[in-house]
């Protein structure tokens, strides 16, 4: 599918709306997820040893060509921008889809885009076409500018990293090493040990390297910073999807559920809470859209990402918490999907830095100093 869009000129006002192409992309992804990613199926997967849906991933990545959205056409991708990737992530969030899109098609892809050289180019081409899943070997909780390194001896990597999201399905790890380089390590050379995760739809794992051979891709600090910044910025789109689902489902339930001879949504106490949720969700849409647009044009992206992340996590968590409460007893059951959204929203509030970490970053970016 062609998803190429023409970015507006640098210096233009941010465009927070969705283009016709972006809406078409949304419709296509939503149709696919409606047919192939229902909540009961996602819950059943979380109870199995294979929580990821790699069949769905293949359809998204290879069939629809979405893994290469951020990769220029001359490097084997679709040549689209963060705006389109954000639309995909909104839909993946709405479905809590257990696929490594954010980790491979955004974070690892951005790290590789910052690297020159043949090894990186070859890997980027494979990832963009869905033939490989790449995962950055940095804990999911790291904010942009913050990551650890593993040891390097005679070109081989030694060390352990924890909290690596989607490591279980990685084909290649991108590993920051103590010499300041970013190395590609085939997953077969690493030991991946699943950790018991709060969010079973994006499970984390420990990855250990014991003399694993690595291919140097480039400098780690610029690549990892770029990767985590894009990850944090586009995570806001996923959080928007989570919040939107929570609002929509709760709205539907409160219109339908009757108590005291009337729909419970008619009670002001609940009506006002839904109105409040709606206000938060539309504000999050603006913040998330602004971050995607800023990343697409690489203009004030640090500020836009920090603003979006400072705002997104509390909204997504609040929306999921309200959804659970307003569904009453049924919301506490395993069979009702609201718990998937609550766990994802809570894990997302830590992923790529907490709201607090992003507020701190924002204060420095706009030159506000602590007294």
């Amino acid at each position: 599918m062609s998803t190429t869009s023409v970015p507006s000129a640098p210096g233009a006002e941010p465009d927070l709306l969705y283009s016709e192409e972006e809406e078409a992309l949304r419709a296509a992804v939503r149709d696919l997820l409606t047919d192939h990613c229902d909540a009961a199926g996602v819950i059943a997967r979380t109870e199995s040893d294979t929580p990821h849906d790699l069949t769905l991933w293949q359809t998204l990545a290879d069939g629809m060509g979405l893994a290469g959205l951020l990769v220029p056409e001359d490097r084997g991708g679709q040549g689209a921008t963060h705006r389109e990737a954000a639309v995909v992530l909104e839909e993946l969030g709405r479905a809590v889809a257990p696929v490594p899109y954010l980790t491979s098609a955004v974070v690892a892809t951005e790290a590789l885009l910052a690297c020159e050289g043949a090894d990186g180019a070859e890997l980027l081409g494979r990832m963009a076409s869905g033939r490989a899943i790449g995962v950055l070997a940095a804990g999911l909780h790291h904010a942009p500018g913050d990551f650890g390194t593993v040891g390097l001896e005679h070109g081989a990597l030694h060390g352990t990293v924890t909290g690596i999201a989607d490591a279980a399905v990685a084909d290649v790890f991108l590993v920051p090493a103590q010499d300041g380089g970013l190395y590609a390590v085939d997953a077969g050379e690493a030991v991946v040990t699943p950790q018991v995760s709060l969010d079973l739809t994006r499970p984390v794992a420990t990855v250990t390297f014991r003399g694993a051979p690595g291919r140097r891709l480039g400098a780690a600090d610029t690549a990892v910073h770029r990767a985590l910044r894009a990850g944090a910025g586009l995570l806001a789109a996923e959080q928007l999807g989570l919040a939107e689902w929570s609002l929509t489902q709760t709205l539907r339930y409160l219109k339908d559920r009757k108590q005291f001879n009337r729909p419970v949504g008619g009670f002001q106490a609940l009506k006002h809470r839904l109105a409040q949720m709606w206000l938060e969700v539309v504000s999050l849409r603006a913040a998330a859209r602004n971050a995607a647009d800023a990343l697409a044009h690489d203009e004030d992206a640090d500020v836009a990402v920090a603003v979006a992340q400072a705002y997104a996590a509390p909204v997504a968590v609040h929306a999921a918490e309200e959804a659970l409460q307003l569904h009453g007893g049924i919301g506490m059951t395993w069979e009702h999907p609201v718990h998937l959204y609550l766990k994802r929203a809570k894990a997302d509030s830590i992923a790529y830095g907490t709201a607090g970490a992003h507020r701190t970053a924002l204060a420095a970016l706009v030159d506000l100093r602590a007294p």
Partner: protein
């Protein structure tokens, strides 16, 4: 008491998961079993966070408790009711 407990417990357990950072992404044990008691201190932060969500639903939701406070403690008028003099079979449900 229960209103305050539910709210505090939810806020504290939510903050704890966030403060733990990378550890907050983990969970102690997802094994399905019939709970014999609410083991709040013997389990990890993730469990406490999720379990606390039930505090504002079980044994009277916080919304119903607030109605009781408003009507019985503060003496505010009740919502208009259309179900009181109707047979159950005639109620919307």
């Amino acid at each position: 008491m229960k209103l305050a407990f539910a709210r505090l417990n939810q806020e504290i357990s939510g903050l704890e998961v966030e403060l733990r950072g990378g550890e907050g992404l983990l969970y102690d044990d997802w094994t399905m079993r019939r709970p014999e008691l609410v083991d709040f201190t013997g389990r990890d932060a993730g469990y406490r966070y999720l379990r606390a969500k039930g505090n504002s639903i079980e044994g009277g939701t916080s919304e119903i408790l607030l109605n009781i406070v408003a009507e019985r403690v503060l003496g505010l008028p009740a919502e208009p009711r259309t179900d009181k003099d109707a047979a159950w079979k005639d109620l919307a449900r």
